[in-house]
């Protein structure tokens, strides 16, 4: 694949991730603290407006994450196969967590008003996103290791 395209796809995977993680943290921790002294009605109105815009950004980010993720996975799949089973386990866990995060995001951003437990859902999503990034970082590291290292580790020793 063209080098420029590979770099752009990598970039297009990081930026939506930044929008999702950074935006969620801002929405959950910074915005409530900033609007605390407003009247309850005003504070809620600000939150709902922010939520509407964040919903559009997050949905676009999820679309970009899926597109770039699928292409990156197809491109890197042979490497993951070489480092089977460790890389495959990490890759599958990364995707599984991503699906859970997407479902929670869609659920908590659906409708005009947030569900009652949207704060808890946001915290769970932030934690899952951190774990997801940890899996992806480890996967990147593992897929660069010599093949025998990962296969030896997974079969009980080096």
């Amino acid at each position: 694949m063209n080098a420029v395209l590979i770099v752009i796809l990598r970039w297009l995977h990081i930026i939506p991730a930044a929008v999702a993680i950074g935006g969620l943290i801002f929405m959950r921790f910074v915005l409530p603290a900033a609007t605390r002294s407003l009247e309850e009605e005003q504070s809620r109105e600000v939150f709902l407006r922010a939520r509407r815009i964040f919903k559009i950004m997050l949905h676009a980010s999820i679309l970009l994450l899926i597109i770039s993720g699928v292409i990156n996975s197809i491109r890197l799949y042979p490497q993951y196969v070489q480092h089977r089973p460790l890389a495959m386990a990490l890759w599958h866990t990364h995707m599984f967590l991503a699906v859970i995060v997407f479902v929670i995001s869609f659920w908590s951003l659906a409708g005009k008003a947030p569900p009652a437990s949207h704060r808890t859902a946001a915290i769970v999503n932030v934690i899952l996103l951190f774990i997801l990034v940890a899996f992806s970082s480890t996967l990147q590291y593992v897929s660069q290791m010599p093949v025998s290292d990962t296969t030896a580790t997974s079969s009980g020793g080096r």
């Binding site: 929008v19 993680i21 910074v30 900033a34 609007t35 407006r49 815009i53 990034v133």
Partner: protein, 193 residues
Amino acid sequence: MPYWLYDIVYPLSRWLHIVCTTLIVGGTLFFELVLPIAIEDLKREQQLYVFARARLVFRWVVWIGVAGLLVSGIVSLQRMWKPYQLEEFGYVSRWAFAHVGLGAIGMVLGLVLTIGREPPENPVRWMRLNLVVLLVAIFLGSATRHFQLSLAERPREGRMRSADGWMSFEPTTQPTTQPTTQPTTQPATRPSP
């Protein structure tokens, strides 16, 4: 460094670098794009108050993010410092140092925008500029990573080098000519760090 520690430190530093990047970039994006629209119905004084409060809270996010980026960046640079001295890594190191330079500018801008009781004039405009700087810095980081990996996939002395191998790489062992054929086998063990 023992292998087990090496296997913990480098994935952890990569994780820290990505998480801290997302904190700063996503937060700045939210601050610059979402917040102004969310508060536009409030009175002017209330808008200023919410902005000031958001800036005070976001300061912690920026500071934690910058600290994490510095620590993880230093770990990565320490790992790659020796290979960057090599001639064949010349263009990779230029991408890397452009990433470091622009990232540093972005971090300084982020700190300047959140330090002190009063924000600078036109804080949203400065934030927009910072966002562009950060996005370009991430692009440079992505390019650096890609070129590093492409270089690692090239054969050297009939063996595939890995990212781990760079750490123990010695310039004196560099052959004068590059092998032209792909290696048929993977290295049996990891080179000693």
